[in-house]
Each structure stands twice: as C-alpha cells, then as structure tokens.
Symmetry: C2
Subunit: 619 residues, 2 copies
C-alpha cells in the first residue's frame, strides 16, 4: 500500500491525510477548501497558486506561471505539485474560490458589505418640556433618513428602558422597512450572521462577522431528521402521516441549527445574542420543514409546494436562538424538488450571468442539475438516492473518520486512503466510485454492471484481483476491498454486486437528467463549456473515475471544475449583500424546471444511462 502523509493547511487550521503523490489541489479539496482553477487542474491557467511552508513535494511544468520572486517565496501551482511527505501549506486569499469574492479576508474587499439587517448607532436628544416627542419618534428622527418603518410590538415595549439605560445613546437594529430592535449604547461592533446549508444529510453553518465580511467559523452536524428517513420522500411521508410528524421534523432541524450556532459561538468566543441574521438554504422539502410548513403535497402528483419565494421572519418565531431581534431568511426555491440550495449554487457560480453554456451539478441525497447560460437556465432534480453518501451500500458509510475515501489499484496492489488516516470501517461515496471505476478498467465489471466470476475474468487479470473475487453467501458476487485483518471491525470490507446496482441507479439518474437538460436546451456535449461540481461530495470525487463509471458525461477533464459548497457560498453572499436577494428571486422565477417524472423520454434515457460507458481511452 501507498504511504500516507499529513497536510496542514493555513490559515484554515485544517489537517488532512492523503496518499503519496496526491496533488495539493486534491488535498485541499479533501479539506473542503476549493481554490481557483480555471483550467480544471491541468496546469494551464496558473491560478491555483499556494505556498508550501514546509514539506517535500514534486512539481511539473508550472514554472512559466511563477515569477522568480514567487518561487523564492515557496509558491507552487497546487494542481501540479504532488505531496511526497508531511506538509504545511498556506492558501493566499487571491487563490480562493467564492471566499475571496464575497469575504474580505484580510486583504481583498471586493464586495461592499450590505447585510439585510443593519445596526446604526444613534444619539437621540433627551426629552425636555420643549421637546416632548415620544421615544419612538425621537429615534426615528435620529435615524434621519425620513423613511417610514414598521416595528414590532415587542420593540415598543423595550424602547423606554433601552433608551434611558444608555442615556439616549442606542444602537438601532433595522431592515429596509422595519426597526426590529434596539440596544443601549453603541453595540455596532457586535454584528454577526450565520449562513446555513441545510442538506438532507448534513447541515453546515458558516459564521460571518458582518462588520468585516469575514468568515470566522464553520461547523456541521448530521441532519437529525435522518433518524426518520434517509431521503426527502420518507420524511415528507413521516411529516404528513404522523400526528406530530411535522412538528418533530421542524423541531429537529431547528435544534440542529441551534447546536451548530452554539458550537460556532463557543469556538469563536462571541455571544449568541450578537448574531442578528441567519440565511437558510436547502432543498424545497428542507426549506418547508425548517419553516414548519407541511411538505405533504411536494410528494403527491403534481408535486407543488406551499411557497417558492424567499421568506424572512423573526428567528424566534422559528425557535432559532440568536439575538432576540434576529431574523431568519429562507432562500427562494425553484420547484418542488429544486430548492434554494440550487438557487444559491447558481448565484455563487454566476451561471445566470455566463455567456457560455455551463452545466452545474450538486450531488447530494438528491442530485440537482442546472444547465444553460444567462439567456436560459433549465434545472431538474434526480432521485439519485443516498448511495453516494454511503447509504444502501453493503459496507457504505458517511464521509467520516475511518471511511475509505480513495481506492487506487496499480502496481499489483490496492491502495486505500481513509478519512483521518484511521483503520478502515467502511467505504464512502468517493471510494465507491473509485473501486467500481478501477474494477471496470480491469474488466472485472462489465458494461451492464455485472461483476464477473473468477472463471469469467479476462485473461491477464492479475492474481491479487482474482483472489479477492468471492461468492459471498448473502451478497453473492463480491470484491474484497480490505481484508478483515486490516479493518476496525475485523470483518472484510466488500464491494458487492448490489452496491454496483445501487451505484448504477444513482449515476443513471444523474446522467439521464443531464441528457434531458441537453435535449431541452437543444445542445450537445461539445457545447458545454464547463461542468461545475458542487457540494461536499463533488469536492472529493476523482473526476476521471466519475467519467469512467459514467456519473459525469464524456467531457474533457479540464472542463470539469470543483466549485466547493456552492450552496453555502450563495447563502454567505446573501448574508453580506442583501441586494442579492433580488437576484436570487429572479433566478428562482426564471429558471425553468423540468419534471423528469413526466418527461416522455426519461425512462428510456435513464435505462440507457445505467450502463457503464464502453472502455475507450478514458481518463
């Protein structure tokens, strides 16, 4: 097996373990950090510069992109430098994707801050017999912009004490058309927000300092709703058919958000009350459940939701514990199965501004696909299922410690890499793709997805492959990825025929969606300028292998780009720049939704898409 090295990443403070020879670019991807790479990691564009602080690496063909000064400073191209030992690496802000666009981390300030909730310090004149304006008017006048604003009853109740405690110096918390809160004295320096990406499986929160526009923390949790079902359909059913099902699922996601908030608050040393805004993005079902709105009819033909537009409300009304004046904005969705996370992805990737046709895909429990350009965008959702998140796979597991996340078969052996460099427990989605791709290349799996028996193997199949092919009592044809002697459980980790079928269903659904979108737009593979891979899973997959199993279309590798957690990035953008809500609304309204369930070509396309591609000169 290959050796594995530790890569520490600055200033993020993250550490990943990667196999010998992994590119720094891939190592960063495993840490969830996406950097610029216009050429798709082929060493052409020179935009993925990072600095190696210490550690051994080898680099090929990147000299022309680096000045002597840069080389002296230790800068390398992340895509072309391969890790050969433990390493410390630093990422300059300019090399980051999205983050550098929206967050002013230290140097760049490309986006002016205009959060949806503002804090204004005022000094109101003290009342006197010559000036008996009531408290509220006194504050309104001190704001000085002459706007008519609404205000909640609770605020009026707080007014008299807050104003006098601070001796008529106060901080007013307001939105465009409403005063939502007041605090004594000048508290404008305490202003934070959290962008939440509510996935069916994972919920991630990004804590942003809204006075500076910088991200100061990230935390995530498994969506606790998973205890009521892996996928949205199961949860919709639970919410609709159980007496307090909706309340339970709503309560769970709110608890999860509160837990993430607590973690962000305690690790960053701020107070919960300093958080005034959260932006929530997620698929349409998640958005409905987060708002406590029944998603029942999303699962029934013709699959309509309750609302499509963005929705802002008091955070307290949802049970979200931040500032008592805090607001919660849930992003608009596109249709019943294409949600706010897709709107956020379009927003972050600027698909809606592109002149060229692009294809963006976020592979989660559902696969959301968007294709088009500034003139027309079409989207669909494929029930990919949770296979790529490790569910329904014999020894599948989520991408957490001990999960095999990479499999390489070469030089007469199998190399695996596990998350956290721990003894293996099971395989996660990326390794599922890797292992099927590797076995497909060796001819162990045929085009139909059938795993050959030993006696059917092509001539020249290496011995170490032959001996790992077994006929398991329960799982029938299986391939031993890791022997029981090497695993945490003492049991072997297998890739089974069933796993391949699950994978075929998942990737077939996605590829079929891609074909239907092309057909809708009337374009062909060659017209697709870029394929953008979003989401946690998208970050980690090996694009070559994804192409070999036909999860990704037959598009040149350099056209396939990782864009990180684009849903999270879009939500962060809204957090710091409120005007983008309008753009989000336009995206929501203008993106055409294609309902695959009623597309007459879908079944045929799906059936074809389940096959594995012929083995040509892939990779």
């Amino acid at each position: 097996m290959k050796q594995s090295f530790k890569v520490s990443i600055q200033p993020d403070g993250k550490t990943v373990h990667v196999l010998d020879g992994t590119s720094i670019y891939e190592a960063l991807g495993e840490a969830g950090i996406i950097i610029k790479s216009e050429c798709g990691g082929s060493g052409v564009c020179g935009s993925c510069k990072v600095r190696v602080i210490e550690g051994k690496y080898e680099q090929h063909g990147s000299e022309r992109h680096l000045s002597k000064e840069e080389i002296d400073k230790g800068l390398v191209l992340a895509c072309s430098a391969r890790v050969l030992g433990d390493m410390k690496v630093e990422i300059p802000t300019v090399s980051r994707v999205f983050e550098q666009k929206i967050l002013t981390r230290g140097l760049t300030k490309e986006v002016s801050l205009s959060p949806g909730i503002r804090k204004l310090f005022i000094e109101a004149p003290e009342p006197s017999l010559e000036d008996v304006r009531p408290d509220l008017e006194r504050v309104m006048d001190a704001l000085g912009d002459g706007r008519k604003r609404k205000f909640p009853l609770e605020l009026l109740r707080a007014f008299p004490d807050r104003l006098r405690e601070g001796e008529w110096k106060a901080t007013v918390i307001l939105t465009d058309d409403e005063i939502v809160g007041i605090e004594s004295g000048n508290t404008t320096g305490r202003h934070y927000g959290i962008a939440f990406d509510i996935g069916t499986t994972t919920v991630v929160g990004y804590l942003i300092d809204l006075t500076k526009g910088i991200e100061i923390g990230v935390a995530s949790r498994t969506n606790p709703q998973t205890s009521y079902g892996d996928d949205v359909i199961t949860r919709i059913h639970f919410a609709s058919s159980t007496a307090d099902g909706l309340e339970k699922l709503h309560g769970q996601i709110v608890s999860c958000i509160n837990e993430i908030t607590e973690e962000l608050v305690s690790t960053s040393g701020i107070e919960r009350e300093w958080i005034y805004m959260i932006i929530a993005t997620g698929n349409t079902t998640m958005s409905h459940l987060f708002l406590g709105i029944s998603p029942k009819y999303l699962a029934l033909n013709p699959y309509v939701g309750v609302l499509r537009g963005g929705f802002e409300t008091a955070a307290s009304e949802l049970g979200v514990r931040i500032s008592p004046f805090g607001r919660a904005y849930t992003m608009p969705n596109i249709a019943g199965f294409v949600g706010g996370d897709t709107v956020a992805m379009i927003l972050a990737s600027e698909l809606n501004k592109s002149r060229e046709i692009k294809f963006a895909i976020d592979i989660g429990t559902n696969g959301e696909l968007v294709m088009g350009n500034r003139d027309r965008l079409v989207a669909c959702s494929t029930a990919a299922g949770p296979a790529f998140e490790g569910a329904r796979i014999t020894h599948g597991m989520r991408a957490s410690d001990g999960a095999i996340e990479k499999v390489i078969i070469e030089n007469g052996g199998i190399s695996i890499n596990t998350i956290g460099n721990k003894p293996p427990i099971g395989i996660c989605g990326t390794a599922l793709i890797d292992s099927i791709a590797e076995l497909r290349k060796l001819g162990v799996i045929d085009e139909q997805g059938k795993m050959l028996r030993k006696e059917q193997l092509p001539d020249g199949t290496p011995g170490f492959i032959r001996e790992r092919l077994i006929n398991h009592d329960t799982y029938r044809a299986s391939f031993v990825l890791v022997d029981g002697s090497e695993t945490q459980t003492g049991l072997p980790i297998l890739l089974t025929q069933k796993d391949i079928r699950e994978t075929q269903l998942a990737k077939g659904a996605i590829l079929a969606g891609y074909e239907i979108l092309k057909e809708t737009l009337g374009v062909e593979d060659k017209d697709i300028k870029e394929v953008l891979l979003a989401g946690a899973f998208g970050n980690y997959i090996r694009r070559e292998n994804a192409k070999i199993i036909g999860l990704l279309p037959d598009i040149p590798l350099q056209k396939i780009r990782f864009i990180g957690n684009a849903a999270g990035s879009g939500a962060k953008m809204l957090l710091v720049k409120n005007e983008l809500r309008e753009e989000a609304s336009r995206i929501s309204a203008d993106t055409e939704y294609i309902e695959l369930a009623v597309n007459i070509n879908f079944q045929k396309t799906f059936t074809e898409a389940m096959f594995f591609p012929l083995l040509l000169n892939n990779g």
Copy 2:
C-alpha cells in the same frame, strides 16, 4: 317629588326613566343616544325630529319645522316636546348624529365601506403537471391585483389544508400590504369588527357588521384597572413600581375587552372568529397599557410617551380573542395626556374641517379640551379627577342603577330622578352639578364655594332648605339631599362641603384649560361658534347647571351641543373606513398640545376658575 315616566326607544330597544316634563331630547341623551341638534336644543333648527309612537307629551313652538304629513305621522321636535307620561318613541336614522354619517342603518349609505381588513373570495385553479405554481403563488395570482404582499409564517402553515379543504375555493383575508389569513370556501358574509372606547373608568365596545356597515350591538364594562386606582397617575405608578404591575394592568384591560367581545358575540348570535378587526381608542395611558407598553415616563417630567402614531398588530399578540387572523389597531394620540380618544373626537366632530372656531370637551376622569378650526387646533388635558364620575364625593357613585342623576329644587320641594327608577343609593356626577347649582342659585353656596350655615342664609330662604342644612360630625357643613327613610341603605344622602371643594377643583381645572386654550389661540368667548360636549358624562349634564357652577364657559346655551360618545364614533368611523387612519394621523401630528403644568398662567387662571360665577341672569 315629581312623577317619573318610562320612555322606551325604538329601534334601539332601550328604556330610561325620566322626571315629568323632561324633554324627549334629554331622555334620549340619558339613554346614550345623541340626535342632531344644530341649534343646541332651542327649537330653532328643527333637526331633532323623532316619532312618538304612543304616550302623552306637550310641545311648544315647533310647528313651523314640521309638515302636516310629518305631524300626522307623529313626528315632533325632541327638544321641544316634554314627556308627560310613559312613552314609546322612534328615532329616524336621519336624526342621528354620527351614526347616520358612518353607519348605513337601513336607509342612508353615506359612507362607502372600506374596512382595514378585507375578505376576498377566490377560486384558484387546481394544480396540475402543467401548472405547478406553489399554493401561495396560486392565491396571489388569483387575487389578480399584482400587489406584492407580505404574509405571516402561520398563514403559510395553514395554506395547504385550507385550500384543499375548500377545493381551491377560499376566502383570503388581507390588509393593504399583507395577507393575514385564509379560510376554506366563501366566508365573505361573515365579517365583523368592534370599536372599543377604552376609558379610564368605562370601556365600551361597538360591534359593527363590516359587510353592511351597521352597528349591531353595544356593550360596556367598568375598566377593571380601577381596582388599582381611579386615575391614570395611580395606574402609571402601579405599572412602574410593581414587579408585574404592567403585565397585570395590560392583562386586565385585555380581559375586559375579551369579556365585552363575548357579550357582543352572544347577544348578536355571531361567532368570535368572525371578528377580524378591532379599533381601540383611549387616552395615551390606556393605549400604552392596552399595548403592554410601559407608561412610566408619561408621569415623569417632561411626560413623554413611547409612541404617538397609530399601531396595528395581530390581535392574538395582545391576547385579544377574535379571529386568529384578527388585527388590532390602536389609534394615534396627540401627547402624553391627550390621547387617541381625543383624536377620535376631533375626527367624529370634524373640528379639523370647521371654518369656525369651536371648542370640544370630553369630561371623563380627565378632561380633554380641544379648540380651534381647520387652520389650527390646540388641545390640553386637565386633571379634572374622578369627581364627576362620583369618586372622592362623600356619597358619590358611578352612573348606575340607584344613582341620583338629576336634582331639581322648585315649588317648595326637591325632586330627584334615579337611574333605573330605583330607590336612591348615592349621587352621580350630573346630580352633583345639579345640586350645587340649585343651592348656588338659592344662595346656600357662595362664590368661594362655602356652604353657609343656617344662620348665614339669606333672608327668604325656604324652610325646607334651612332644615336640610346640618352640621355633620364628620363632614361638617352638609345638605341632606335625600332623607334616610327614602334611600336603599337607610342612611341619608348628603352633599358636603368637601364635595363642593372637589367639584371646584374639577371644574376649575377644566375652565382653566378652556381659558388657556383661548389665550393660546388669541380668541374670546364670543369667537367660539360652538361648544361640543362629548362623552357619556357630557351626554347627561344639564347645560344650564354646568354654566351656573362655571364648569362650562359663559356661552349662550344654543351654542352648546351634545355630540355623544365622539371617541366611540371616531373609532367606528375608522373601523368602516380605513382611509381615515391617515386623517387620524394628521390630526395627531397637527394638533398642538399645551402642557398646562408648565404654562406660566395656569396656576393663576386655575385659582380664579375655582370660584363659582356671580349669579347674574344665567340659564
């Protein structure tokens, strides 16, 4: 003693008992029904026509205002017809004040209905695979006016079921900029509102059918906050100095409003859920307490409140139990001690539109005074105290069953009238004024307000007066109004020296306010075109007597008009015509408030105003 007769009033279904010779106009006033009287009841204008269905009466000098046809129908001028026996009388809509202006009772429809909350029946198309608009959009589009409206979270939660229960026929409940509710099917016929006049002492609710603009019920309660103090200052103190004082007072007024609502609902046979809007008007302290906002600083120099403008919120947020979608609008006030009830009075009396200078006064626990015309209005509040409501008076009581409400001394005897024609228990404000005026006329009370001893009485004082003058152990100089043998308690009912002092303080405060307002506007008595008496108390007082004790200025009687519960009328107007909120806001903003406490002339004026006027040819 004079005989007393029963007067039944149609279509109101009210009954009052009045002394022999009382005008029908006064009898109606006692029932709380104010009819038109442009000349102030002097038989000149001919606008107070009513129909005597049966009963004995005498009429003087009204013939020229009545056609032969009208006389045949039994029409009389209410001001000129005196009750001489039990009577049934009917009031034509055209003779009513305010009611006929704002409420389309049967015949007239002078005001088009435009309540602040509307109900619209829609038929939304059912979703299909060709039309997958979400529920909310479906409804918004069905509304068809293209307005962007906000909506509360609760509504979204109710949407899916309500729409499907009614098979996509639903009634949308909306304000100008918000959808607040939805009901299955067509419920537009069930649309009610209540206008509440929240007095310091009495709370009155008027139930209005908002589909027709007619009043269908009235109910009132003593403000339960009185258990914490008679006047606003005591209550402000209680709210500010007790741990849960504010919550208690807020809870009490809300309970009171809920009780009145229950009564209105049960007597009119409608459901509580059919009430969608309440309008609340009251003095600034009452408005603050109703909203649960601390009135603390209203009682501290420089006496500023928390808000002045009108405020609408969900009724449920205040604990007011009407439709779950119901709204509560609290009227704007003018200053710390001139509240929404004064705004409502100005609105109802159209003082703000008058070319001539008028003076309007609402005597309650506080006396609110407004003077001016469409060019300029000035207002002040006088701490008249609750004397006219029977408080702080030795045998004082509220105007309820058994209260002496009228005292006439003539023909060698004292005639009294009690409310409900019951044996007397005590005296209410009108009788207090009557008895002081009568004794003043007889010279028993001097200009300084001193009650003479027997030996000081002028020559010719009748014997029955002399014998009623006693020196009471506790109350010193006192006048026996009713002997113990005739009262419910068996104890005599006295008018004491202390009562006269309390009355002097109360009437002095009001008259001083009047003088300061005149001074502010630079006008004299002769410039005042009309004096408008509002409020329950104003309805009942004998104007002659009010002038004799100097409660009202020296203005010709025909210039003094009762205008009924103008605060209630103003609130009713807002209920049926939402656009008037803007007018109310303008009145609130434009009316100048005069703070008597800091007026350098006030003390001097007040001291002078406490004296009783010299006995000239009054009345």
